[in-house]
Symmetry: D2
């Protein structure tokens, strides 16, 4: 039985708690949150104790921690968890600073604790199936990947202001997906971005519509487009071209119902929100974390994956600002 | 060069004339129509002469006739054409009376002229491909066929009144398609029908919504549904289930454009009208007729197919009226 | 807190137990099963007691029973539960005998206990959405309903032998769905059926491929087709035509991944098994049962719905055997 | 009656000749080709005379010329046609040199002759419908356009060597489409390209897989991807995102037939070849040319459109070679 300490009892912490309730082999023993009410509510729902973050990170009866707190607290928590020999499940991004993540990579390497960077989309059943089929060679060597990711509507400006910008906050998922699918690191990147959705986003120094092109040393290409707006719902699509054909994952619609009238054939909008769209992915990533801790041979995104994605997000931000392509360090 | 006499210069006659203009190996030499203006217009467009029907049916310089005149004139024209040793291309239905068609079958058998019953849907590229794949055994032995056929809107009541009823006028195409696909004759049939679209259709003694179930001696099943109304356009679908899976032909939409908005994903209505939907089928059936006359080994619907479809339409009409199933003669 | 006694700890009992674990407002207090190990396993997973069926049906601390036992035990259990003033959730079919169900209808009427016939498909989010849109008048008055239901593969012959036949075992779901969608009772029915999948099914006196046509007094039509085989998975589709258009619910595929190669564009098979396909429906029907017990205004299928479906299944069996249509009693 | 001289009797010349045969209001009076047999074959099929190119360009009885000859002959032919006051329909590209096209723009401006640059895809019914709906504001202001264009297989290396490279030969269609849809000129462009399909293409100095990102002064973005290979056929898709949603045009498949087996649901490959895929577009563009000559108010791509597309192709070639973005002249 893996004993888990949960740091952060907000939306995503609650998702993980629900998953763990229905699982055998792991149990939340302690929860912490800066908001006491949030901690107590989740403690009561899970049968766990409320403790301080520090207590959890040094507790003898905690094997692993789930870090779902604000990004600027990750660095210290990861260091303490690593010192306390806890396995770590950390929400993305690991940290806003590539330098900090490099420090953590070193810490994790030294302490030898297990680390899981929560790139949940790798665990979406559709994207996971697509990736497995790529690895099985179903379409041969990859030539071109196209990733589309559009939110239904922009978050509040206050969120934008502390988000690190669209590339670090939103496209970071797509950078990880691009790496996950491509199976070869990217060597060059160029980015463009505009403020077309909400001028306030521009005033906050960010963009809301962006396109990035990445290439690998062997010439494979990936394009990613992002927008903070999609009237028809949460748009999450992948298309991969290879020597022998194309593999793509289409959107998931709210229902399978279609109506045909004089106006034509109309299907439902896409599932609207990430918690709903990626419900199965959140459950599957937690299962993969527990499986890993139980010694199963499970492929999971590690801290290096968190680092690599952040490097790409930094490069894209720089390319967008300068208008120039960026050569990525090896 | 096949020399053709065209009887009937209406909508369908014009379609065939246009097809023949673009073909090598055949040429319209004479046209006839009860409406002189119609005959002269088509003569001028094709370079053919206007003649009387009788002249065409006995002309030395005519090898084949296309009969696109009202159904009640078919019987006499076919007999004369048969006597005159003309190959015959005849629009469906061959005749409203099964007895008359039996007489014609005998005539055609004796004279040995080529006869083509214009069941155009067999030549639709999609349905033809589906049937070829059935024959190739792609889904193994057939178990169940489902045919959906819905007109966008009912014809004028005057048309309904002389149409012979929905089974003889509209579902006759589906009866032929069912036979074409099944490859085994039907032994039993039961039909229901209602007047749900326009009460005037009911007053004319007809129904506008109908469902027929057919079975073969070996137990294979076919269901056909018809309606005189489909808000979303001309609905023409086939679905065939076999041991190893299903083959289906979906509707053809007006364009491939899809719009996604808050209301969801909307594609175009189906192609609205039979002349547009079956444009390729009309061209292909005429090509098949000419190919047959040129000695190519071409599978075409003959007069027996016209007879069989009419027998099914009669049986369906009777079943609908009596509420009882009908055993089909061998 | 609704206190529940669970009768039958097999596959479906476990599904309901899992649903109830994750719900607030209801709790399983006792379980029973003819197989002691099954009862103890579920008791241990839910924290309930193992008791005898009789004890549960008369227990003071049980408010409602879930009956997931073999069909031939339903009658006695329902009577006892009714006498014991327990609310009843009963798997379909309520009983194989229409006469017995009529007796139970009377019993339930007298005792006034709540009764839920577990027609789970009414609670499938897609079918429920379709039905709600029909009721909202999205396509106007209904003209024609087409229901397709195909199992991936036939059950064991031993199951077939005690199943009551395809109409009572399999199509009963579709009969209920037809009533749920149509909103008007059927007045006539005719059925055909064949043994095309497995000759052993025929030897057992049953058919494996069937088509039924139902009509209402006002002339609306419904066709249902069933097969015990579908190579591409569990086929569950509905199509409803109305004055203003069509509403349809398409199959749910295993993933959203599509591959395009020289052979064309290939999507996944349908979800293969009913437990997986209707997972959300099972959870939603249990929620509806608890909501009803908590006094919420919830539309649920009652015992009369169980009776009506069984009447249709009986009539279809008779029609298939005699080859004649059946007029349904009012 | 517009009298037409046809220069170039190859594949595309034959397509235009066939279209004109079926049209009223225009007639081919003379044809020319460097290969005498080709000219005579087309003359015989159309009833036109064979003449020399020079004769046609100065003929009194020719109102318009269709230029379907090799690109390096366009410049002289256009100048002569312009001097001879012939309306001009010219296949793309107008010329390989932007400088030459600027000269021709000036010539055409002075002579005042009508000029049609044959960007056929603007006349594809699907893309034309999409563009019309964009202009009607169906999805509001445009934010992002994504164009996918993939050939089924690369052309011969000899063709590649004289093609001007993938951006001038293949993506030029997409550049025109991007301008046609966007309705605002592009201000910046960056391109990447690789040789992944055939190393011989790389030896010829070209790439076979390419991605280009374009932006407008107002920040709208367009991404274009091209490949010389697509196992599943000719891939021609457009997706446009706007404030109120997305409009997209999907591929056209060979048939509407779908097969479902244990492997899933498989539809046909895309139409394989551009002559087949754009058959309707070729007919529609010729109709638009004749309509324009007959004084109808018809929007057609002029010589400036040919110039603009070539400028983009040049810029993309340069960006790909230098690895740097290119600012486009106004």
């Amino acid at each position: 039985m893996i004993r888990i300490g949960l740091l952060g009892c907000g939306r995503i912490g609650q998702v993980h708690a629900r998953t763990l309730r229905a699982m055998d082999g792991a149990r939340i023993v302690a929860v912490a949150d800066a908001v006491a009410d949030a901690a107590h509510a989740l403690a009561s729902a899970t049968g766990a104790e409320v403790r301080s973050t520090e207590d959890i990170l040094s507790a003898k009866d905690v094997d692993a921690v789930i870090i779902g707190t604000p990004t600027d607290t990750h660095f210290d928590q990861i260091r303490l968890a690593s010192e306390g020999s806890k396995a770590i499940f950390c929400e993305k991004p690991v940290d806003m600073s590539v330098g900090n993540i490099r420090t953590l990579v070193e810490d994790i390497r030294k302490s030898g604790v297990a680390f899981f960077t929560a790139f949940n989309r790798r665990f979406d059943p559709n994207f996971a199936a697509l990736q497995a089929r790529l690895r099985d060679g179903e379409i041969g060597a990859i030539e071109l990947i196209q990733i589309t990711s559009r939110d239904p509507a922009p978050p509040p400006i206050s969120y934008i202001e502390s988000s690190g910008g669209i590339f670090r906050d939103m496209m970071i998922h797509d950078f990880d997906m691009a790496r996950f699918l491509m199976g070869e690191e990217f060597s060059h990147l160029s980015a463009v971005g505009s403020c077309l959705v909400d001028p306030e986003i521009g005033k906050a120094g960010d963009v809301d519509t962006a396109a990035v092109t990445l290439t690998t040393a062997s010439g494979r290409i990936c394009t990613i487009t992002n927008s903070r707006r999609a009237a028809y719902g949460y748009d999450q699509r992948i298309e991969v071209h290879g020597v022998k054909g194309m593999l793509r994952a289409e959107n998931i619609l709210e229902t399978s119902v279609e109506v045909a009238t004089e106006a034509g054939f109309r299907r439902a909008p896409t599932m609207h929100f990430f918690l709903e769209r990626y419900e199965a992915a959140y459950a599957a990533e937690m299962k993969a974390f527990i499986d890993m801790l139980n010694g199963k041979d499970t492929a999971v995104p590690g801290i290096e994956d968190g680092l690599r994605a952040q490097i790409l997000a930094d490069a894209a931000s720089r390319s967008r600002e300068t208008g120039m392509p960026v050569a990525l360090e090896d």
